[in-house]
Each structure stands twice: as structure tokens, then as C-alpha cells.
């Protein structure tokens, strides 16, 4: 059975554009994704929060240092993830990241621009974890957490 996460790319984009027109906001659902052969099947909300805030430095059950992939602060996926899930405004997030970086806690997420490039990055690395527009999820990545707008 094919579900929405396996829809071809073009259809997915078209679908999210339709959503855009009919919904008040232009945001689509955001999926947190890992490498398709990762042993992670799903993550809890708290695990996702902690991973993107650098408070969990390894991917659960993998023994791998997490290579967290972030997107541009202007991107729709970034805005949704940080405002709805992590609950941080852009200003607060930048302060948090500065404190994190210079207090010896660890390195910052890798910056990758655009959902497609995030997908390529995650498809390439067993350590990577990123987030993309849920409509763009295909076989090259595995969705382990879904953040819905409603």
C-alpha cells in the first residue's frame, strides 16, 4: 500500500501547494528524517527537542554521534519546527546556540539549505538527522517523527 510519504515528489509538491491555497498558513507538515537503514524507527517529542537543542548528542539506539542538520531560519520547515515543537523564537534560539557553542557543550548543527539538500545529506549519512516538508519524504530517507500543523 502506498501512503502519502511514498508519493512521487512532483505530486507531493503539488499537494502541498494546494494545501497552501486552502489553508490559512503556507506551512506544510514537517517530518524528522534519518537514513533509511537507520535502526531508529520513531522518536518521541522530547527526543526530537533534545536532539535539535544538542542536549542529546547521540542518536538513540545507534551508538552514533548525531549529525544534526538544520535549515535556514527563513525556511518554512525551520519556522514550524522551532516555533511549534521546540518553542523558541529566532532571537532566543540564536542566544541559546551561542551559549551552547562557547560553553564547551558541543558543536552546532550542520547548516544545509533547502529540503532537497537536507534529504541528500541525510540519505548519505547514517549519523544524520534532519527535518523536511513531510510531503517530500520518499525512499531515500526514513521519517521518524511527524509534526502536524493542527
Amino acid at each position: 500500500m502506498r501512503n502519502i510519504t511514498q508519493m512521487p515528489l512532483v505530486k507531493g509538491v503539488a499537494f502541498s501547494m494546494v494545501l497552501c491555497v486552502i489553508s490559512v498558513s503556507c506551512y506544510a507538515d514537517v517530518a524528522v528524517v534519518v537514513h533509511p537503514s537507520s535502526s531508529i524507527e520513531s522518536l518521541t517529542t522530547r527526543q526530537v527537542k533534545k536532539l535539535f537543542l544538542g542536549r542529546l548528542r547521540m542518536l538513540p539506539n545507534t551508538g552514533r554521534e548525531a549529525a544534526v542538520v538544520d535549515q535556514d531560519a527563513d525556511s518554512a520547515s525551520h519556522k514550524l519546527l522551532y516555533s511549534k515543537l521546540i518553542n523558541m523564537t529566532p532571537v532566543k534560539l540564536r542566544r541559546y546556540r551561542a551559549a551552547y557553542l562557547f560553553s564547551g557543550k558541543g558543536t552546532l548543527p550542520v547548516m544545509v539549505k533547502g529540503d532537497e539538500k537536507v534529504k541528500d545529506f541525510v540519505a548519505d549519512s547514517l549519523s544524520a538527522i534532519g527535518y523536511i516538508d513531510a510531503a517530500l519524504v520518499d525512499d531515500s530517507v526514513k521519517s521518524v517523527y511527524l509534526l502536524s500543523i493542527d
Binding site: R57, R94, F102, G104, G106, V110, M111
Partner: protein
Amino acid sequence: MIRFVRFWQNLGLFLTQRLLFVLLFLPVHVIAASSEEALQLSGFASFGAGKLSRDDAPFLNYAEGWSFRSDTIVGGQAQYQFTNRWSSTIQVVARGFTFDDNDKFDPVLEWLFTSYQWSPETRFRVGRMRTPLYLFSDSLEIGYAYPWVRPPVDIYSYLLAPLANFDGVDFSTNVDFGEADLDVQIFAGVSRGTYIDFDIELSPIFGVNFVSHWDSLTLRYGVTLGYTDAASEGLSAFASNYDFFASQIPIFKEIRDSHETEDELFQYHAVGLQWDYENWSVISEAYTTVGPGKDFSNDAKGWYVSFTKQIQDFAPYMVFGYYKNEFSDDISSLIAESKITYPVGGPLGPELDGLREINLLILDDFNEKGRSYTVGVRYDFRQNAAFKVEVEYFDSTSQLTRAALSDSKQDTVLLSMVVDVVF
């Protein structure tokens, strides 16, 4: 010689001011995220300016004229990921003002540690690290990371200066309770530093630090214990005036020797709270220092509470603070005791009487308390830079300065501003 030193100081200041312009024109996304490389380089800087309402009590070295050094700082950091689990971090900081007279922008090694990630929650570190005395201990120099021009002086000032770092090991882990979680850090090592002319060494220093996050609330409790040696060149020189009497009479030997602390246990307890509610943020901390209550020791306490409201890129803030330092009455009781057997005007002569009186005055200098009130605003004018300006009022400054002025119960106002950059 002095002229030569001045030249280098001015050169340092000149270079840091030029650096500000360079940093402000760097690409803005640097702090947003890093690259994929194993070696990561980053840096931070603050460029401060300030003036004080008076010249006789130079708080943090500020005076009546504008000066640009006291809150000016530049730091660089390199992180290297060796393997999946092993990494190293080094951080070097140059300051325009310190409590140990190193204010020539000489670079100081602040952090140098190797870290082993044992599990997703747990890691070990060995090397030079920040002593976790307070909520913002880890990011003390990173002005960009906190709301104010500098962390509230009522608790972040003199205590921290000599003990800011320790060389040793630490273990940290995170325990999850569903809605809330708890970071636990246990550490041990040695710490040494200088505050004005006090050489202080804590060997060993050890402690535990708990930080709990629950929704938008952060709570902290930390306790640090240290076996402390402390001596001041000036004070020891003064105490040597007792040498003649000390060689004859045991109580004067005791008085003389009490001007130094050797291997005494000091405890530092601190609690902290941060609560972010919508655009409001409340931060508060309190600490108490418990000394051995004898020899040259003190009991100190302090607290502050800070309110911030974020209005787009502006964040006005208010801070109230208080601190109190009570010097051990050990020496003054010994002096009182000596007066029973060897009364004032007695056969040992006026020299001893004068010495004892001066001694009591010196000791009283260390007893003090003060309040502070601050209002200011932070403006995030670029993604990697913030400008802050604040006015702070104190009713006492003595122990926070490098001039030990007793009973300086006079109003002091400090106007200061700073540009904080991360890159």
C-alpha cells in the same frame, strides 16, 4: 618601561576596536549553524564603553571619563572531533580588565578539554573547564548569550574571578522524567587564581551541579567544596609587624598566623531559576559561601532577580541585586582576648596598641554589603550581534573594585554600553 607597557596596551585596544568593524561585516549566518568539518573554529567579542559618576571608587576600573576596556573581551575557540565519541575543545580569551591585573589583552587559556561521549546522555571530560558555580558560569564571557551588559555583579563578581576554572575531570548525564529532565554534573580537580593581591588555591575542589528543565522553567542547584589556601601579600606584610611579639607570646603568634588561610574547607551553595513565559523572562540566582569561621575567612551571600521582555529585536531589562560579605571575627576575638592579659597602655608599649587598632580597622574593611539596581535594553541589530546600554546604581562598591575603600556608602552610577558579537 611604563611607556613601553602603555604602548602595548594601547595597541591591544586599538586592534580590538578595529576588530569590531571587521566582525560586524562578516557573513551573518555564522552562528546559525556550522559546517561539516571535523575542525570547527568560532569566536566571540564584546566591545564595551562606560563611565562612572565618581572617580574615588573605580568600579571595575571605570572612572568619571569614558573608558573602553573593562567590558571589552575577545575570544577564539577550536573544536576537533577525533572520532565518533572523542572530541577536544580549546578556548582562549583576551580581556581588557581582570581582577588579577592581567588587563593588557594577554590571551588566557580558559578551556582545554577532551571529551568522551559514553552514551547519548552521558559524557566524561578531562582538562581545564569552567567551575560550575552559577547558572551562567559556562558562558560568562559570551555577552551575546545573556540579556545584560555583564552578569549581575552582586553574585558574579569577585568570588568567581579566581575560581572561574578548574583543572580536573567531570562527569555529566541527563535523566529524563517524562515532562521534566535533570542534568547532573559531578566534577573534581584543582583551581587557583588571584584576586587583587590575594593568591587563592582550592585543592581539591569538587562538587555537583543539578539543572532541571521543565517546559519553560529551568531550576538549578549547585554545591562546590574546596580546601582553600589564601594569602595576601599586603596582609601578610602587615601581620609580620607582630613578629616581635609573636616570638615571645603565643597569642600574638596566633593573631599573626590567622591572617592567612591554609587548607580550610569552604562551601559554595547556589540556586538559580529561569522562567520564560511568552515574551517575558525572569532570571534569579542566590548564593551563599560558608567559610570555616576562623582564621582569614568570610561568609558571603548575594542574590539578584532580573526581568526581561522581548519586543521584536528589543529587550528591555531590569535587575535588582544584593550582596553581603561578613568577615570571620576570629582575629578580632583574639585581639580582644589579648587585651585582657596585655591591656592597652600596658608594659608592651604603644606600638602594640596602635598595631591592634589598625588591625581591627583593616578587618572591618572586609565587612560590607551593597545593593544594585539596573535598567537597560538589548537590541539585536544583526543576526550575530547585539547592542546593549544600561544604567546601574549601587550604594556601595568597595569589594567589587580593586581599591578596598571601607564604608564607601555613597551613591555610584555606572553608565555602560557594549556591542556583543559571535562569529
